[in-house]
């Protein structure tokens, strides 16, 4: 699935001052690519992911996913697109406390009626993130790292074409981080899923051959040498 960002500008007003979070960003991502976006805190990485995921609208510019402009769609169509096309992994705990681990993973599917085999797929994902035995636990009973792994499993449940991950392994140990990236590579290989990963860790890109690396600085995006 092709992602095109054209002249994206996004500004915020903070403490009475207008800040440019994303400044004239344009780039194209082909289906199945691994994209790493590096940059310091506040450089605009997360805002760029929000723009691509249709979570916030740009001041100017366009985000086209397979030629369809995100912000030319109705709110409901945009929600539907997010549900079917994009898997989100946030940089903070994003599970619903009232639901069990299994229910959290099935949440993106459950409101269209669960497809056949959905539960089995959720259990398989739990095996892949090493939390099969926790499937009936509640988020409050898990560590921060375990919650992050559940969120990763949830992001894959609908077999989305695009994964937007904001510091996906931020609070995981090295071994688990390695396992998660192996999972990313498997999903990328098997589903041709596109990954856009925001991370501080410059080393990760080198583990995935063919990946492209971008750097954000003061809202400006520049491509650097890939992995």
């Amino acid at each position: 699935m092709l992602i095109e960002c054209k002249n994206l500008i996004k500004t915020y007003v903070a403490d009475g001052r207008r800040m440019t979070a994303v400044d004239e960003v344009s780039f194209v991502v082909q289906q199945g690519e691994f994209i790493f976006i590096h940059g310091h805190s506040g450089s605009g990485k997360t805002t760029l992911l929000s723009l691509i995921g249709g979570l916030t609208s740009p001041d100017t510019g366009q985000v086209l996913i397979d030629g369809q402009d995100n912000w030319q769609q109705s709110d409901n169509a945009l929600s539907d697109m997010r549900n079917r096309t994009i898997g989100f992994i946030f940089q903070f705990a994003s599970l619903i406390p009232a639901l069990t681990v299994l229910e959290n993973i099935l949440l993106p599917m459950s409101f269209g009626g669960l497809a056949a085999g959905a539960r089995e797929r959720a259990e398989q994902l739990l095996v892949q993130v090493g939390l099969k035995e926790k499937m009936h636990s509640y988020p409050g009973q898990l560590s921060g790292g375990q919650q992050r792994r559940v969120a990763i499993a949830r992001a894959f449940i609908n077999q989305p074409a695009i994964i937007l991950a904001d510091e996906p392994t931020g609070d995981l140990d090295e071994e688990t981080e390695q396992e998660i990236f192996e999972l990313f590579k498997t999903v990328n290989r098997e589903q041709k899923a596109t990954f856009l990963i925001v991370t501080h860790n410059n080393h990760l890109a080198t583990t995935i051959p063919g990946s492209r690396v971008f750097t954000m600085r003061l809202g400006l995006l520049s491509e650097s040498q890939g992995g």
């Binding site: 997360t46 805002t47 992911l49 929000s50 995921g53 979570l55 916030t56 609208s57 709110d75 409901n76 929600s79 539907d80 997010r82 549900n83 079917r84 989100f88 946030f90 940089q91 903070f92 994003s94 619903i96 406390p97 009232a98 639901l99 229910e103 949440l107 993106p108 459950s110 409101f111 269209g112 009626g113 669960l114 949830r154 904001d166």
Partner: protein, 397 residues
């Protein structure tokens, strides 16, 4: 499951119940506070309606026209001979002298209402007889009919004879021949009915005088016309009609009712402030949850359905709880919270057992005043939050 639409709704409900259970203590507290407000309002409404209907029944006993003698703006005893001056007025069926007053019983420290009248047959006697639960009206000297509270306060069981003090402290002995029904307690609970002569004897009134004259008319539609003729025939008297008495009663009751309403409005206002506070903004974790749901593909309508069900479960539970508690309070506990205010007895309180008058319109009004604002207060902030860009969920950490 075969039907995705049904499964979708079940999932919404499942999510709603999970969400309610997660914040069960907070939600339980809301239900309790909410139910108390509804209980107060519903109890008040039930008692008001019950009392009005009861009063309507009891006021049937009121005379169609009452003549009182006025001197210097104050009521004094009226000569029974005044009745002879009314013979020429067409439309009067009967004129009955009545003695009535208050008797303070120093033994029981209770205040009774005493009415002395002779049985003359016809309208008023029939009406009085209708509110007797047992026995008969007095027909001979020293016989009496009592209200339930007087009977109870005097400690009468099998023994049907008791004594009251005359003004000169000599004892007057009376035999109970009948009791008034509980249904008419609002007006008869503290009542002692005697013959005219016995009442005069009890109060030490001279012969030939009464407290007032009760007039029965042939055609109830002509009450005001007859009353006007009486006023002209008996200058220096005050002529009261039953519609006027009913109006006065309603005004007094209305005042009490209004006073209680003001107190209850304070409770309602507190509830509205609570609802408004809830409507004015969601807690950060609630906002984040809605944002996450939107990011995962929920539509704004889906969020609103869940929030609607949350509000509906809480408010309907509180509504049913409050209304049921109000019914129990009125029927089984004698409306102990409101009756002292609304019935307004001073010494002996009427032992009222109201069967609540349930009006669909009142229930709907109560529903609109309580459930609807709460639902609005639940759904509106969720709608405002769900309509905003969802990226706020990505910013927090």
């Amino acid at each position: 499951m075969a039907n995705p639409l049904l499964e979708r709704q079940i999932n919404f409900l499942d999510y709603t119940l999970s969400s309610l259970w997660r914040k069960r203590y907070k939600n339980l507290a809301v239900v309790v506070v909410f139910a108390v407000v509804i209980f107060l309002l519903a109890s008040f409404q039930l008692v008001s309606n019950g009392l009005l209907e009861r009063a309507q029944t009891a006021l049937v006993m009121a005379p169609e026209i009452l003549i009182q003698k006025m001197t210097a703006g104050r009521q004094e005893s009226i000569p029974i001979a005044y009745a002879e001056r009314l013979h020429d007025i067409f439309g009067i069926r009967q004129v009955v002298p009545r003695v009535w007053g208050y008797y303070f019983d120093e033994v029981t420290l209770a205040n009774y209402t005493v009415i002395g009248r002779d049985q003359v047959g016809g309208g008023t006697d029939d009406q009085l007889a209708q509110v007797l639960s047992e026995g008969r009206l007095p027909t001979a000297a020293n016989e009496t009919v009592l209200g339930q509270a007087v009977f109870r306060t005097k400690g009468l069981q099998e023994q049907r004879i008791f004594s009251l003090f005359r003004p000169d402290l000599s004892l007057k002995t009376l035999t109970v021949t009948g009791l008034f029904k509980k249904e008419s307690n609002l007006l008869t609970d503290d009542l002692i009915v005697l013959s005219l002569a016995d009442a005069r004897d009890l109060f030490g009134l001279p012969d030939g005088l009464a407290s007032d004259l009760m007039v029965t008319v042939a055609n109830p539609r002509e009450i005001s016309t007859v009353a006007k003729k009486i006023s002209e025939a008996l200058p220096g008297t005050r002529v009261l009609t039953r519609p006027q008495i009913e109006k006065t009663y309603h005004m007094i009751f209305g005042w009490r009712s209004g006073f209680a309403s003001v107190c209850l409005l304070a409770a309602l206002a507190a509830f509205f402030i609570f609802a408004w506070d809830k409507a004015s903004g969601l807690a950060p974790d609630e906002k984040r949850e809605i944002a996450i749901l939107k990011i995962l593909g929920w539509q704004t309508a889906d969020v609103l359905v869940v929030r609607f069900w949350e509000g509906a479960v809480i408010s309907l539970a509180a509504y049913l709880l409050g209304c049921t508690a109000a019914y129990i309070h009125v029927v089984f506990f004698g409306s102990t919270l409101f009756l002292p205010v609304l019935a307004g007895w001073s010494v002996i309180r009427p032992d009222l057992h109201l069967l609540p008058a349930i009006h669909l319109a009142d229930l709907l009004l109560l529903f609109c005043l309580t459930v609807m604002p709460y639902l609005t207060a639940t759904v509106v902030p969720a709608w405002r939050c769900a309509s905003l860009p969802s990226d706020t969920a990505l910013q927090g950490g």
